[in-house]
């Protein structure tokens, strides 16, 4: 609380304080204005002085700014483009496309090409500083593995190390498509590098990169193609020999096809094919290569401990290790069934004829059942009594008198074929073709054009030595070259398949189709241009007759009834009704057992990533089919590519080849931090020189201006 005494004291204090202020104000020197006559001159002079002073001050300011800026830049220059803690580096963004496709599983010394590519990628990471960004894409799995540019180089390094060998084909177009979809092409100042060995399997010259939008891609640097010649043996196929496995047999005859690369074809070689089935039985057989021979086969007898049950047997075949192990193993499924029942549709004959006058049905029956313990059972059927119900128990039907089929008969046949049946048709020996071909073409929905009359060959023609390798006869391809030219054809039905040349199974030396085959619904239709009688051809009396008829029935039956072998990367199981695909359960190795969902309506599934045997199950867990999945033999090829062709293919990417090969050098391209060639350091010197010059100019100007002021 302030009392009266305090208030008066405050007044006195304030007065005391104000005294010196008042003295200062009272005695403040006031300048009297000077009356001046020539004010205009003075005004102009003052304006000039002010103008000059402004200019001088500006000049001094600029000089001082330059001095400070140059000094600052000189100090900072060595650290330009380098984050704190780093001494030598320029910021950049690096995108690495690493080929982990099946071709990169090629062996290289004690390692693989993929491991070398990963090491090369890690070496690229060593050139980066903490401020840099890096991302990578495994080319074989672009959808799953795209790793966007990141500052965390160590995480990226771990990610690169963790890239696994894919059994899928190298998919550069897919990677380009995925990167474009993710907007990676718009990355500013990004440096792109494709690390690949560029083997035959790594490229897909049939697919234009321009089509997938690669022409908008930034310029990419590619590793140099590997030019070394590999030694590679490839297991092409494994299948039962001649006839399907039967319940009555305890042995399965297998034929394994093996090929080898040109580099190893100069010398004779023997490759042992090892077979293991899902019942635990093992067998092996050699495939002998003569010098210059690139294809060979091995016959293997796979014995079963017990009689074969009517089921599917999974087979894993493998050969000895070479430069490319990915194509050394093959999975397939052998379907053991009861005897194949074949309906022989012909008019019954009650007369005994000599061998030379035997009708076609006799020749065919003999060909299908050459021994007593054959796997094929033949039953005769009257053409006029054909019905779908009657045909249902049969796997195949051979129609020898199509001219005798009425409309209902053709409908029954069409139903039979559409439901996984195999229908083989031969022309009637004496009847005009126009009476039945029209019905056949209409009911089966064919595009073929058939002649009205049999075409007479005078002189007789033979089958061509070079036959089209139709898959239905793949087991007798090696024999065809020798056996086909012995077959003479004197007359035949003219068949025009149009542009679908793949429908031709056998042909004569003049190119006329001899046997044609085409899928109809879920089944298959085979049309022979001849009646297997001696009036038409000597085929019934030739050695080709038996294997030809056997394969036409058996292979066609396999093709229409079983699931085809899929390639790794497939997205369609070709199996309807199944909801789950489980890997490896039927194999003795029992791999991962990972369940993959399947669309039951279409059979579509996510990309199959590994080779092996898969089980397709329905919702109740019932086995629908066993599906073999194999590595794509073309994607696994490791022959060197033509560099010109590769450059042409990669042209849309505006690529530039690096001097490095994909062989890792283990000498990472790292800038030596001790070197003194950083442009910032050179710039620092210039900055300091400029700063010193600015300081000198500033001193001179200041002195000059001060001197003039003093002088004036």
């Amino acid at each position: 609380m302030i009392g009266i005494g305090s208030a008066s004291l405050a007044v006195v204090a304030a007065t005391a304080v104000s005294i010196p202020i008042l003295i200062h104000l009272l005695f403040r020197r006031r300048k009297q204005p000077i009356d001046w006559p020539s004010m205009e001159l003075l005004r102009r002079a003052v304006r000039r002085v002010e103008r000059r002073r402004r200019l001088e001050r500006l000049l001094l300011l600029l000089t001082r700014c330059l001095l400070v800026t140059m000094a600052g830049l000189g100090i900072a220059a060595p650290f330009w483009g380098t984050p704190p803690g780093s001494t030598e580096h320029q910021q950049r963004t690096l995108m690495l496309l690493i080929d982990n496709g099946v071709a990169s599983s090629e062996r290289s010394g004690s390692s693989t090409i993929l491991e070398e590519l990963k090491a090369q990628a890690r070496a690229e990471l060593d050139t980066l500083g903490p401020g840099d960004r890096v991302g990578f894409v495994p080319i074989a799995d672009p959808q799953q593995g795209t790793y966007p540019p990141s500052l965390d180089i160590e995480t990226v390094r771990s990610g690169i190390t963790a890239i696994t060998q894919s059994e899928s084909p190298t998919n550069l177009p897919g990677a380009i498509r995925a990167l474009r979809a993710k907007g990676a092409f718009s990355l500013a100042r990004a440096q792109w590098k494709i690390l690949s060995a560029w083997r035959t399997g790594s490229t897909d010259f049939g697919q234009s990169l321009q089509v997938v939008g690669a022409n908008n891609a930034p310029t990419m640097e590619i590793s140099k193609p590997l030019t070394s010649q590999p030694i590679n043996f490839q297991l092409r196929s494994v299948a039962t020999k001649r006839s399907a496995a039967s319940l009555r047999e305890r042995e399965i005859q297998l034929l394994a096809q093996v090929s080898r690369s040109d580099a190893s074809a100069t010398e004779a070689a023997t490759i042992v094919v090892q077979i293991t089935d899902t019942n635990g039985n093992e067998a092996s057989g050699p495939a002998h290569f003569n010098p210059g021979q690139t294809n060979a086969s091995a016959s293997i007898l796979l014995r079963q401990e017990q009689a074969i049950a009517p089921a599917e047997i999974g087979i894993e075949a493998s050969i000895t290790t070479d430069d490319q192990p990915a194509d050394n193993t093959l999975h397939t499924v052998i379907r053991t069934t009861n005897e194949i029942r074949v309906a022989l549709i012909d008019r019954p004959r009650f007369d005994n004829v000599s061998l030379g006058d035997s009708p076609a049905s006799v020749w065919i029956e003999r060909a299908l059942t050459p021994g007593e313990s054959g796997a094929i059972e033949v039953e005769s059927m009257e053409p006029s009594t054909l019905s779908a119900k009657k045909l249902r128990p049969f796997s195949a039907a051979i129609l020898l008198r199509p001219d005798l089929c009425d409309k209902g008969g053709w409908e029954a046949l069409q139903h039979f074929v559409s439901n996984r049946g195999v229908l083989i048709i031969t022309p009637p020996p004496t009847v005009n073709s126009s009476q039945w071909t029209k019905h056949m073409v209409e009911s089966m929905g064919l595009d073929w054009k058939l002649g009205d009359q049999p075409k007479q060959h005078n002189p007789a023609t033979t089958l061509s030595q070079a036959q089209p390798q139709h898959p239905i006869l793949r087991l007798i391809w090696p024999e065809l070259e020798e056996m086909a030219p012995t077959v003479i054809c004197t007359q035949q039905l003219s068949i025009d398949v149009g542009s679908v040349v793949s429908d031709v199974v056998l042909r004569t030396s003049d190119g006329t189709p001899f046997i044609t085959a085409t899928p109809v619904g879920s089944g298959m239709l085979v049309l022979m241009s001849i009646t297997p009688e001696l009036d038409w051809t000597n085929l019934p009396a030739k050695p080709l007759m038996v294997p030809l008829l056997q394969e036409l029935v058996r292979a066609a039956k396999d093709m229409v009834s079983g699931s085809p072998t899929l390639s790794v990367g497939s997205i369609d199981t070709h199996t309807t009704g199944a909801t789950t695909l489980i890997e490896g359960r039927t194999t003795h190795q029992n791999k991962s057992g990972i369940a993959t969902p399947i669309d039951p309506a279409t059979g579509a599934c996510p990309p199959l990533e590994t080779a092996g045997l898969y089980e397709a199950l329905d919702t109740s867990g019932r086995l629908i089919a066993t599906i073999p999945v194999a590595v794509d033999r073309n994607a696994a090829a490791i022959e060197p590519v033509d560099e010109t062709q590769l450059s042409k293919w990669l042209a849309p990417l505006q690529t530039t080849a690096t001097p490095n090969t994909t062989r890792v050098t283990n000498t990472p391209i790292v800038t030596d931090p001790t070197t003194d060639n950083h442009p910032g350091k050179q710039l620092a010197g210039a900055c300091f020189i400029l700063a010193i010059a600015a300081m000198g100019i500033e001193t001179l100007l200041s002195r000059k201006y001060a001197r003039r002021e003093m002088a004036s």
Binding site: P33, I34, D35, S38, V46, R48
Partner: protein, 330 residues
Amino acid sequence: MPQDGGINGGSAPLRAEQYLAPETLMQLAPFELRAKAVAEGAMNGMHKSPRQGSAVEFSSHRQYAAGDSVRHLDWKVFGRSDKLYVKQFRQETNLDVVIMVDASASMRFGTLGVKQGWGGTAATKATNSWTKFDHATACAAAIAYLCLTQRDRVGVGIFSDRLHALVKRSSARDQWRQIVHCLGCAPIDGPTDFERSIEQVLVQTQNRALFCLLSDFMFPIDSLRAGLARLKHAGSDAILLTTLDRQELRFDFHESAPFRGLEDSEQLEVDVQAARHAYLEELQTHLSGIGRAARGAGFDQITLDTHESVGPALSALLAKREAFDRRRSP
């Protein structure tokens, strides 16, 4: 309208002798104020006239023409060459001198103390110092005295933004006193309008004259050039006597101070140290402009420092003009 005679305003009568220092008289005594151009005086005098007449100074011969008076025939030439020639004589006349004194406010500036025995002007009374107007008055008085002693007719005009007063030209005995009275009583104020003032004085001056212009000429050179052009067009001669104070000429200040215009009220804070050099350059430019304008019209120009005596400067001017006259007419 300019008023003839003094504008004393009823103050005490001036003593004319106090406006002309004896030493000035002594310094000017040997000289004559000569007209550069021909004069058109009414009486006989010492200056060349444009008219030919019955004077004593022979001018030239020309061939006789019908109608010429036979009195002017040169018989000696006729006797030698048997040709008739007529002798011509140049008439000499007196000179009209008009002294124009600037009485604008800028003339009220002075930094020298009042001189001993000076009669005083309105500026002296206002500033108690020897102003530019005082100096111009002293100079005008001396010139007027000199001219009157040469029997020339002298008049005085006082001007600033217009012609304020004009003492008609005369060579009468008390003309000098009237002039001095007019100068001593003239008010010193207002801006300068030189061109207008010249126009007004030319209206009052019919024939050719010598104009002595006493001013600081602190107005735009273009205005000066226009005024001089009018004088030139009228056929008159002129002498420009630029009257400046020494402080104006040297700008010798040591402390920054506000400057206030005498002809306007604008005040300007000036760093005298910094502005001195620029001011002197501007002044030099201005003086050069005055000189160029004068020379362009064919007139003489000198600069008078108020801190110096009138005599030497005027003596130099008169000597220069006499020399010119001698060169022209040997």
